[in-house]
Amino acid sequence: MDLIVKPAETFRGAFTARNSDAAILRFPFPFNEDGYMYAVNIEPHVQSGPTAAYDAVFDLDEHYVGECEDRAMVLEEDPLRCQVLPHMLDAEWDTLELLMENLARDYPALFTLTKNGDAWRWVNKPLGLDQSFIFGKTETLPYPPFEYITRQVQGDFTLQDHRDDNLFMDGGMVTSQADWSLNFDLGMSFHEWHGPVPLAHELGVFDRALQYLLRLQNGKPVRRLNWTLTVNPRLDTSPENYPVWGPDRLTITPDNVGEKMCLRVELQTLTRLPRSNAILFGIRGYLIRLEELVRVKKWAARLHRVLRDLPLELADYKGMLRYRQTIVDYLATFDDGAVLNSGTAPEQDRL
């Protein structure tokens, strides 16, 4: 897979991160209809989809170096963003093996993995790493295996232990989250960590999703999309750092909404891990400024209709009540009311 990685950009401070035309066209737009409501929108994670973001098992893009650097900064300030409980050591090695094998296969120009029995060598060219180690021997890596490899991949990850007919969040690397805390959720069961989500519990969504995930099979990963809105292309919107990013929410005006307001989409993948029988949950986040998104005509009109008609509880949960009308007014200027095709493909080859 061809991938051109940009020099480092920032997802904080001056917010220099922007999407190229190619990055806009590969964005995993989440709305296939003009309305939105919770559903168990899980499907097999096959390597094809409406945009190129679905072409690799673990998608990397032009923001790779900048996102890895942002993660390193978050961990420097707050090491508790990466925690794994002791009984999950097999799952740590499972994760390292899965990510290294897939990245080396999908991006051979960027990564190589060489194995000689348990003696492995991992080369990461964009980050300038060349590491020889013994698979299964934690002391031969500079970090524990889960932290070592997830420092080198875009997106957050959590590890779910499967026991007592339930899933428990017993580990994670979470530095680019939409306002939730690994340190708070660590050790919780499936329904516990989903506790704050409105409406979906009553619909039975979590009961069904858990039953489905308990049957998740090795070699048959699945995916779903989730979304929210974020002010500025800021990866780390954590509860721990709310004082840093919370005040941004007061800065949205009709003049700057297109530039500052971002749609945040999470391409979430769920993979059964072979040795540990745990489940790896990947939360690959994408940020796109509204002024970038509206260059795709269909997406502009559809996002307008979805946000305009979103039920109040959902709009509140996603934290947008303060600026929802400003966004809807901005997007309305791009919506001529024409009927849109269902599906999420951009339906244009260039911008």
């Binding site: 559903a39 168990v40 929108n41 899980i42 499907e43 097999p44 009984h87 999950m88 097999d90 499972d94 093996e97 232990d161 499967h162 026991r163 007592d164 009961d207 069904r208 999703a209 039953q211 489905y212 049957r215 099979q217 090795n218 070699g219 699945v222 072979p274 040795r275 540990s276 029988n277």
Partner: protein
């Protein structure tokens, strides 16, 4: 995936160990302790899909090993593996699935097996030993097969006991003397499982600490036919095929998403016949009403269903 039979060893007159490797020589997917694979075994007029526990160490990616007892009368699978399989032959294999994993937070693992039910524990042993976990294995078998099972259990000692004559295993006493943070694993013939699990429940063991091999969620069952009224065709659903697969095999594109009975996408209205529900979407009342069904997992209680599709 295609596998090649690399070796077949007779462990006793009725028990064989079969070693499989990837047909193209690439590494096999890593398995976990307790996992099973599905083999597609050729038979007259149809293919048998049988599940076998892996007995090779979970980290071994150059081979999968299974142990097969010749069942009398055989449904077809074990007889073919005993009488017709030979080294060098190729066979279709579905990657490992684990419905019987080790409970990682147990302070001690108590493993009870009988007969061929020993097989999943053969993949447990290297993992438990490697992690320094406390365990105790009791295996019951016929006297005639004691030598074969002894050969499979190197290091028999305090942690491993073979019971090859009746009444040497006092299950109640064994269960009663366990520490509270012990987990129990049971695999063997139905009467053995019922007796052991019943004793544990009588003693007050909580369900969360009882583990037994179960193939729940399987898609197979008795064959039936489905008449698709709007399409005007009738499809035959084979024993090892889902209704959804049968409709797709007829060239139609029915709705579906998760293919696991969770999302509700594949629901079709039932106009005739009685569905056997296996989904997690519909309520008990909807199951009882029987006028809608999930084609990806649910089957039929009657020989024919009529569907609005």
């Amino acid at each position: 995936m295609r596998a090649r039979i690399a070796a077949i060893e007779a462990l006793s007159p009725a028990i064989k160990r079969i070693t499989l490797a990837a047909a193209d020589g690439t590494p096999l997917p890593t398995a976990s302790a307790g996992a099973h694979i599905m083999l597609a075994i050729p038979g007259p007029g149809r293919v048998w899909k049988n599940a076998y526990s892996l007995v090779s160490p979970p980290d071994a990616r150059d081979r999968y090993q299974i142990i097969v007892r010749r069942v009398e009368p055989s449904r077809g699978g074990s007889a073919w593996l005993h009488d017709h399989a030979a080294a060098g032959q190729e066979i279709e294999l579905a990657p490992p699935i684990n419905l019987f994993p080790i409970a990682r937070r147990a302070a001690k693992h108590l493993l009870l097996s009988a007969g061929i039910g020993l097989t999943p524990f053969l993949s447990y042993l290297p993992v438990l030993r490697g992690a320094g976990q406390k365990f105790e294995l009791h295996h019951c078998c016929r006297h005639a097969e004691a030598a074969a099972f002894t050969a499979l259990l190197p290091g028999t000692g305090e942690a491993i006991t073979l019971h090859s004559s009746r009444n040497t295993l006092d299950v109640l006493h064994l269960l009663a003397r366990q520490r509270l943070d012990t987990h129990l694993y049971v695999c063997g013939p139905d009467p053995f499982m019922v007796a052991v699990l019943g004793a544990a429940r009588d003693l007050g063991w909580p369900e969360a600490k009882l583990h037994f091999e179960s193939f729940g969620g399987a898609t197979g069952g008795a064959p039936f036919t489905a008449h698709l009224k709007r399409s005007g065709i009738t499809v035959a659903v084979a024993a090892d095929q889902s209704l959804l697969e049968a409709i797709e095999a007829a060239g139609l594109q029915p709705p579906c998403l998760c293919r696991g009975g969770a999302c509700g996408e594949c629901a079709l209205p039932v106009l005739g016949g009685v569905p056997e529900h296996r989904d997690h979407v519909l309520s008990p009342a909807e199951h009882a009403a029987g006028d809608i069904m999930m084609t990806c997992v649910s089957r039929a209680k009657t020989p024919e269903l009529v569907l609005d599709f």
